[in-house]
């Protein structure tokens, strides 16, 4: 059932810069088994792309990207969107059903591909089947 919702990232994204969810969410994001992320890009200028990567860690220090299984991110993120010329609204989702367990800490990285800029919001919805 639904356990928690967090707004883990809400900021203006300059082109080409990787933004990471605040470290205070790392523990919370790893607390439950199922994780659904919704990324919304608004007030966009310039076409380009948007990628979101999920990475996890057991020590909150060294991070492994979930999609690639290595410390190097895959070229396309867990959410990968093509952004048309502005003005536009774009949204994408990532849904982890918890079949393959996550490490204890989870964080999110996002990047807008140049020349796109915009406001990025990432919501995390957590669910669990445990008691």
């Amino acid at each position: 059932m639904l356990r928690r919702k967090l707004l883990v990232l809400d900021e203006f994204g300059p082109a080409g810069i990787i933004s990471t969810s605040h470290a205070r969410f790392n523990h919370s994001l790893g607390a439950f088994d199922q994780l659904a992320l919704m990324a919304v890009i608004e007030a966009q200028t310039g076409n380009g792309g948007f990628d979101l990567w999920v990475s996890h860690s057991a020590d909150n220090r060294l991070w492994i990207y979930q999609k690639s299984g290595t410390t190097t991110p895959s070229a396309a993120g867990d959410i990968s969107l093509s952004l048309p010329t502005s003005p536009s609204l774009a949204a994408g989702s990532y849904r982890n059903d918890g079949v393959m367990p996550l490490l204890a800490f989870v964080r999110i990285e996002v990047k807008l591909t140049s020349p796109a800029t915009g406001r990025i919001k990432v919501y995390a919805v957590q669910r669990d089947q445990g008691g």
Partner: protein, 141 residues
């Protein structure tokens, strides 16, 4: 176990052009996103057209404002709904002589915390009575 059973839509949808899209009651959006498993039952009757198609789509959202369809993860509605009656030749359209019953059972990847349903007839020449029930289940304690 079973957690809740909601009648999320119970109304006549009249024919009009362009075809009307009806939505489940907004006040239920939060409730429908609460549990992990959804079983949907759709009843369509009192049709005013000889034959037509019908679709019901499920969408979810984390902000109750921007909606992604669960079938394709996109802002763009899929051509075919999660419940679908097809008006194409040789397919299974709605019956005018009986109550049409459709189901959609969801137990997939985690949903966002708001869920809603959209429904529409395939043509602009059809109206009818639509009822949608949603049963929620959960495997948690």
């Amino acid at each position: 176990m079973r957690r809740a059973n909601h009648l999320v839509f119970d109304d006549m949808v009249t024919k009009q052009s362009p075809a009307l899209t009806a939505y489940s009651r907004a006040k239920l959006n939060g409730k429908l996103g609460h549990f992990d498993q959804l079983a949907v039952m759709v009843l369509v009757d009192n049709l005013n057209n000889n034959t037509d198609g019908f679709d019901l789509w499920m969408a979810h959202s984390a902000d109750d404002r921007i909606w992604l369809y669960t079938a394709n993860g996109s802002l763009t509605r899929p051509t075919t709904g999660n419940v679908h009656w097809d008006v194409a030749a040789g397919a299974a359209p709605l019956l005018t002589t009986d109550t049409n019953i459709g189901t959609y059972l969801f137990a997939g990847a985690p949903l966002f915390d708001f869920v809603r349903f959209e429904m529409a007839f395939s043509s602009t020449n059809t109206g009818g009575h639509i009822r949608v029930y949603v049963t929620q289940r959960d495997q948690g304690a």
